[in-house]
């Protein structure tokens, strides 16, 4: 994890354009959990597989009052074309310029090849970073259970809060 990031502290804010050139702010998702999915590149086989499975389970993910935001350094036009071809309905955010700035902030930019590592950051409804998964090998996608395991923990905490209220 990046040295500046701490669990249970506010996740770094950002604003990035999606494939429709609409600006998306992390803080707009307050009240929902956010699965922030960094991936190396549109069109690559492993990323295609990873995001297809997220799309396939998206309704279940949203059942946890959660939204998925995926981020790579590809430009908005690439995101738009790839999302159309792959039927991806969650936002693909373009960290193209300043190149990889958000990936650097989250500590997952790869200086050796100019792309983001594959990683998941889980942010709760208050905007706090609650859990992370960072690939040891970017050629291997995370098991989809990791997303559900993390959301279970976040929701469990919320249920506890609700009981206390």
């Amino acid at each position: 994890m990046a040295q500046t990031l701490q669990l249970n502290k506010p996740a770094p804010e950002f604003t990035l354009p999606d494939g429709n050139r609409t600006k998306v702010n992390l803080k707009d998702f307050r009240g929902k959990s956010v699965v922030l999915a960094f991936y190396p590149a549109d069109w690559s086989p492993v990323c295609t597989n990873e995001l297809a499975i997220i799309q396939e389970t998206l309704e279940d993910i949203r059942g946890y009052n959660a939204e998925v935001l995926a981020i790579s350094v590809d430009n908005v036009w690439s995101h738009k074309a790839w999302a159309q071809q792959q039927h991806i309905s969650f936002p693909l955010l373009s960290d193209f310029w300043p190149h990889g700035e958000v990936a650097r902030t989250y500590g997952v930019f790869r200086d050796e090849d100019g792309i983001s590592n594959r990683a998941l950051f889980f942010i709760d409804k208050s905007g706090n970073l609650r859990n992370t998964w960072i690939a040891e090998n970017p050629a291997v996608a995370p098991g989809i259970n990791i997303i559900f395991d993390a959301l279970e923990v976040i929701q469990g905490a919320h249920q506890t809060e609700a009981r206390r209220a």
Binding site: N49, A52, I53, H87, N131, T132, A141, G143, N145
Partner: protein, 181 residues
């Protein structure tokens, strides 16, 4: 930091098993009949099992990724319909060999070619008799940490290496404690 590469769901007698159900090494595959990588892996996995019938078994579960493979779900139902007539693996092989021609007429032709009772096949497909079995496999795949298709687990540990004969056999040997294969 989260990570989980272990199979959580048990293999049961209801799973489709190639060759010896008592073989000490289990390869569990989560596959999608419309996935080209699964089609490439199918003959490799069959060869590994056929050449090591006392040592290795293959379990196949469905993981249709319909957003990119819209006919994968109906293909999985067709495989189950074949299984209901005792011909799961014949249908499995026929589907991968004929990928991606999975329109209704093509599936009927495949079912005829492997000798299924076509009226029963039609009836079960029309009523989606096997849909819940496919969905149950998918849910188990989510629990077991599928990260693409095909996902392979060797003795309950996810294998992320190349889907090639030598590489898979080496991984099996390592997991099985260098047992003679």
């Amino acid at each position: 930091m989260l990570d989980q590469r272990m199979q959580r769901t048990p293999v049961t007698d209801a799973d489709w098993c190639m060759i010896d159900p008592n073989a000490p090494v289990t390869i569990l595959e989560y596959g999608d009949f419309e996935c080209p990588y699964c089609a490439m892996a199918a003959p490799v996995l069959e060869r590994i099992v056929v050449e090591n019938p006392d040592a290795i078994r293959l379990i196949y579960r469905h993981f249709p990724v319909t957003t990119v493979h819209p006919l994968s779900l109906i293909a999985a139902e067709a495989a189950e319909a074949g299984g209901a007539q005792g011909k799961f693996w014949q249908m499995h092989n026929a589907l991968f060999a004929n990928q991606p021609r999975f329109e209704s007429d093509s599936l009927r032709q495949l079912s005829r070619a492997i000798g299924l009772d076509i009226r029963r096949f039609d009836r079960e497909m029309e009523a989606h008799v096997h849909l819940q079995e496919v969905k149950q496999d998918f849910r188990r795949g989510v629990q077991d940490g599928v990260n693409g298709t095909p996902t392979l687990l060797i003795n309950r540990v996810r294998y992320d290496g190349p889907r090639e004969y030598d590489a898979i056999l080496s991984a099996i040997a390592a997991v099985a404690g260098a047992r003679e294969l």
